[in-house]
C-alpha cells in the first residue's frame, strides 16, 4: 500500500476509515449520477472544511445536483451566484467577514471562506475572477472539481479536457482524434500567483484529500486545490470503477498527487512503480478511439511531465519568493 506521505501535520501513522468524522455536511439525497467521483470528493472536502465555513459555489454539476429548489444538500451556509464569478463572490464574503470581525459583530470563530467550481468554471470562464482573488491575497480556499469537461451541459470540452479525449465538441472523426491540446495546467497557474498553498487531490486517496483540504482552509491567504473528479457518465467508465480509476490516474502519473507549499513541491503519494498510461485509458470509453500513435504520445508527455515534477520536488530553490510582509510595515 502506498504511504500517505502527508508528513507536515501528520500525527498519525495509521489511517482508519471508521475513525474519520461521521457528520455529513454534503447530505444524501443529492442528484448526482451513480458513482460520481465529484460528489464523493465534495462529501469529504466538506467534512474537512468543518462547520465554521461559508461556501461560494459556481454553476455546474455539483451546484445543480445539490440545490434544486426547495431542496439543498448543503449543511454549510452556501451561495451560488453565476458561473464565472465564484472567486469574486468569495472575495466579497471575505471582505465582509473582515469588517464584521473588526466591528465586533462576528459571533463565534471567523468562518473559513471556500470557493468551489468545476473545471469549466475555473480554468475557462472563471479564470479571470480566480486570478483576481489569488492576486489580491484573499484569505480563502479555492477547490476545483475537475471532471475534465462541461459535464453538466452534456459533456463538452473544456481547457481541462485531456489530450485525445472524446467530448461532444471534440469528437473523434475523419479529421480529428478528439481533444487536440494538452490539459491546461491550473496548478502551475495557481503557483504562478505566488500563493502559500497549492495541491492536487483525488477521490482515489480520500485521506490525502481530507488532510489537504484541512491544511488549505487553515493556511492564511489564498489556497488552491485541484481535484480529479472521476465522471463515469462523461468518461464512459463503469460506475463502480470511480475510485479505482482515480487511483490509476495517480499510479500512471497522469494525475500525480502533490502539494506546493510556499513554492516548494512535494509529492504526497509516491507510487513505487509507475504503470503505463494505457492501464488508465483502457477502462474509459472516451479514449476508446485512440490508436497507438496517440497513446504513445500521451505516454511520452506523461512520463516527461512526471519527470519534471520529480525534479521540482528535488529542487534546491522554491518556484517563487514568498511575500511575507513583516509586522510593522
Amino acid at each position: 500500500m502506498e504511504k500517505f506521505g502527508f508528513a507536515e501535520s501528520t500525527k498519525f501513522d495509521t489511517y482508519a476509515s471508521r475513525m474519520m468524522p461521521r457528520e455529513e455536511f454534503f447530505t444524501s439525497g443529492h442528484r448526482s449520477c451513480q458513482g460520481c467521483g465529484e460528489a464523493l470528493a465534495v462529501r469529504w472536502a466538506c467534512k474537512a472544511i468543518g462547520k465554521d465555513a461559508i461556501i461560494a459555489h459556481a454553476t455546474g454539476c455539483m451546484e445543480i445536483v445539490s440545490s434544486a429548489m426547495p431542496q439543498t444538500a448543503w449543511m454549510h451556509p452556501w451561495i451560488h451566484v453565476a458561473f464565472e464569478n465564484t472567486s469574486a463572490v468569495a472575495s466579497g464574503i471575505e471582505a465582509a467577514l473582515k469588517v464584521l470581525e473588526r466591528k465586533g459583530r462576528l459571533k463565534g470563530p471567523m468562518p473559513k471562506v471556500v470557493a468551489m467550481g468545476g473545471d469549466g468554471g475555473t480554468s475557462d470562464i472563471g479564470l479571470q475572477s480566480l486570478s483576481g482573488a489569488l492576486e489580491r491575497g484573499t484569505n480563502f480556499t479555492y477547490i476545483c472539481w475537475d471532471n475534465e469537461a462541461y459535464m453538466n451541459t452534456g459533456i463538452q470540452r473544456s481547457s481541462s479536457t485531456p489530450f485525445g479525449a472524446m467530448t461532444t465538441t471534440s469528437p473523434p472523426g475523419k479529421l480529428s482524434f478528439g481533444q487536440h491540446t494538452w490539459k491546461k495546467d491550473m496548478v502551475a497557474i495557481a503557483v504562478a500567483h505566488g500563493i502559500p498553498y497549492v495541491a492536487t487531490a483525488s477521490p482515489g486517496y480520500l485521506f490525502d484529500l481530507y488532510f489537504k483540504v484541512k491544511k488549505a482552509v487553515e493556511t492564511p491567504g489564498p489556497a488552491y486545490i485541484h481535484v480529479l473528479s472521476v465522471c463515469p457518465t462523461g468518461w464512459r467508465s463503469a460506475t463502480d470503477l470511480t475510485v479505482r480509476l482515480a487511483r490509476l490516474a495517480t499510479e500512471t502519473a497522469v494525475f500525480p498527487l502533490f502539494e506546493v507549499v510556499d513554492g516548494r513541491y512535494r509529492l504526497t503519494v509516491q507510487p513505487p512503480k509507475i504503470r503505463p498510461v494505457r492501464d488508465y485509458l483502457k477502462p474509459q470509453g472516451r479514449f476508446r478511439h485512440l490508436r497507438d500513435p496517440e497513446v504513445e504520445f500521451i505516454q511520452k508527455q506523461t512520463t516527461d511531465r512526471y519527470q519534471l515534477l520529480l525534479e521540482k520536488c528535488q529542487a534546491s530553490c522554491a518556484e517563487f519568493v514568498p511575500v511575507h510582509v513583516p509586522e510593522g510595515i
Binding site: 439525497g29 460528489a39 464523493l40
Partner: protein, 96 residues
C-alpha cells in the same frame, strides 16, 4: 416547503428564494434510482469502514453491531463492492 413543490404559491417562497433549512435534500429518496444494491457477507467483513468512506451518497450506515449496511439513498453504483478490502460485498439485483 412541506407542500408539493408544484403547488407552492408565490407568497410561500422565501424572500430572495433563500432555502432557510440546510440539508433538505434528505427528503429526496435517491434509492428509487438503483437497479441493484450491495449485500455484505458478515462472515468476511472486518468492519474497516472503507465502504462507508467511498460512497458518494453517504449511502452506507454503520449498524449498532459495527457492521455496515446500505441506507435508503444507495444508488447502486457499486463502488463499495470494488473498494471493499476483503471483497465481502456483492451487488444483487433489485426485485422488479
Amino acid at each position: 416547503m412541506s407542500k408539493a413543490w408544484d403547488q407552492v404559491t408565490w407568497q410561500e417562497i422565501e424572500v430572495g428564494g433563500v432555502l432557510t433549512e440546510p440539508g433538505t435534500a434528505r427528503n429526496y429518496n435517491t434509492g428509487d434510482w438503483r437497479s441493484s444494491h450491495p449485500v455484505w457477507d458478515k462472515t468476511r467483513c472486518i468492519k474497516c469502514g472503507v465502504c462507508w468512506t467511498v460512497c458518494p451518497e453517504a449511502g452506507i450506515t454503520e449498524q449498532p453491531d459495527g457492521y455496515f449496511e446500505m441506507n435508503t439513498y444507495c444508488k447502486g453504483c457499486g463502488i463499495c463492492v470494488k473498494e471493499c478490502v476483503t471483497g465481502c460485498i456483492k451487488m444483487v439485483l433489485e426485485e422488479s
